[in-house]
Symmetry: C2
DNA sequence: TTGTAGGCGTTATCAC
DNA sequence: GTGATAACGCCTACAA
């Protein structure tokens, strides 16, 4: 309620004095004055206005995380893990979800000059996770000053020096090779039809090398229930594959239920592999083989990179790639 | 990059003129001047600095959601649902998690006068969900101006006029009565030992009325895996109840797995009831009976209330209580 | 139709 | 040690 001016008037001091005493514990001040200021501030319930402070200092002590909708547990995992990091550095974490509502963040009309992505520069930095480059780059330019960005997941961009990659190519290949090695022939891919996706690339490449026919089922984004139905319908129409390599764990779990609905057993009739490494995969009657993403480590490094960049804007590019790990469980073992 | 002053200088106009043209489409201006300003602004990549604008207007077009850690899916559901609402109103949603890291938001030291909960008043309003009153009230007072709050879930506070309640008392009673009605006698409660909790109260009251012995197993907060182990150990030590009324769906799912570990069957050996209504409960071999929370409706109303309060600070208190709904599934049917 | 100037609440740079 | 005073970038009366 009370501004620093009121506080200063009340104390018959200048606001400069008050500000220095409040902010800088080492400022060379009369112990008595300091004490007076501190007590009176507490009495009057003074708290600095963060907006005004941000305007004056150019810093907000806040970083943003840009990530996808929270419709599967993996996203929550990322948020949780990162929020622990930023909290440890006593930064605020602002979370922006995208990809959930139609006109992603602002409608074209409101995206005009006058109403930009409002908070784009009320943060000191941004960490993106799995954001399509075009989308965020366009949005990023909306800011009134350049803000450091650390890209995690997704693909590195030539324009953004700092990057923490999650490489699941090796693990994805290993997963498909593992299925091939089990002697299965009809191995399907159930994933978003994105040719850039490493999982999809790994599947295609391994299947080609093994001389096996490819069977790509285009996953429609949706809830587990919708995915469950989609897969059930697919099997009803086309029969069941011997194995399914799924886009992520949520998909794998939905597929698992769809198979149960149809009276098919995992892994005897159909082997199953997911991706992400969320806890849920261990909570099915048959634990699901999955590609475990090193989310905690990713968050740690991303936050480290961002802190460094904030302190040294001209530091050399920071890049690190983490390898995902295939964890074989009962869903793909005979 | 460019400030409004640079833009104005470039155009040989005053910043007032530029500001008005940019912000107010209906301002009475020369079509030619307007056009000049608009084009030049686009060319120079001008975007207003939201911090400066917020300082000048006192509004940020941002609301905060204060909620618990994202360690179970219910929280994600709330966030998703609310973020859709605020996005529709073209507001930013800032998410603050608490309850995850030790010194909840700021350490005592940094919580001094000089470094308050930084963003407490860089938002226009706050929606809380399931936040313990003491905690957020204390924090709320840290702001430099009073900010409208809408409390959802939890208990209403005499100091906060706007409230959207989730009442699960009736449904919780119905759940326990349902178990009693099945003729089961050893019905356990597996929940956080909080006497304020409606679920716990309902359990105690119904069990008393039925003259049945109470068996309260104090749930330790943790991951599903930890809960699973906790329950397994409990059963190993004390034998298994005939039914378990669980704190939430995550707990129920963990219990389900623990029972499987022990070779016990649901519902034949043990009946199971959860709470929240998350999608996962339908994804077990035996769908779990649960108390479905009306999250979407809660979000809708909370946002409505907050918008109203922002427009009319002196509007009368707005309160609405939503009833949760018991949904009986296979886990509690013979 | 446009310009001028004060204010928003801080921090920071000078002097004294 | 302390007090003025100029930024910070924008909005908005009030004048012209």
């Amino acid at each position: 309620m009370a501004s620093i001016i009121q506080l200063a008037n009340d104390l018959k001091l200048s606001k400069g004095t008050v500000s220095r005493i409040l902010n800088d514990a080492t400022a060379p001040y009369n112990a008595k004055t300091r004490h007076r200021v501190l007590t009176r501030a507490a009495e009057m319930g003074y708290h600095p206005n963060p907006v005004a402070r941000a305007l004056a200092t150019g810093r907000t002590d806040t970083v943003a995380l840009w990530t996808r909708h929270l419709q599967n547990f993996y996203q929550s995992w990322v948020i949780n893990s990162l929020s622990r990091q930023t909290a440890a550095g006593s930064f605020n974490l602002l979370i922006r979800l995208y990809g959930q509502y139609g006109p992603t963040i602002s409608s074209p009309a409101s995206d005009s000059v006058a109403r930009p992505f409002v908070l784009s520069d009320s943060v000191d930095g941004v960490i993106t996770h799995g954001v399509p480059p075009d989308e965020w780059l366009a949005r990023f330019r909306g800011g009134s000053r350049p803000v450091p960005i650390v890209v995690t997941g997704g693909v590195p961009s030539p324009e953004i020096p700092d990057f923490v990659g999650l490489e699941l190519c090796t693990a994805a290949r290993a997963a498909v090779e593992h299925l091939v090695g089990m002697g299965l022939r009809r191995i399907a891919l159930f994933a978003l039809p994105n040719p850039e996706d490493r999982r999809n690339q790994a599947y295609i490449s391994v299947m080609e090398a093994a001389g096996l026919p490819q069977e790509c089922i285009p996953l429609r984004e949706g809830t587990r229930t919708e995915t469950r139905r989609q897969f059930r319908e697919y099997v009803t129409a086309c029969g069941h594959p011997e194995a399914v390599f799924c886009h992520n764990d949520d998909t794998a779990i939905a597929v698992y239920r769809a198979l149960c609905d149809l009276g098919l057993r995992v892994p005897d009739d159909v082997a199953l592999v997911g991706c992400d490494g969320i806890e849920d995969t261990e909570f099915l009657p048959v634990p699901i083989t999955t590609i475990v993403q090193p989310v905690e480590e990713m968050s740690r490094i991303a936050w480290e990179f961002l802190q460094r960049r904030l302190q040294e804007p001209d530091a050399p590019p920071q890049q690190h790639v983490l390898e995902a790990r295939l964890e074989i469980r009962a869903s793909s073992q005979k």
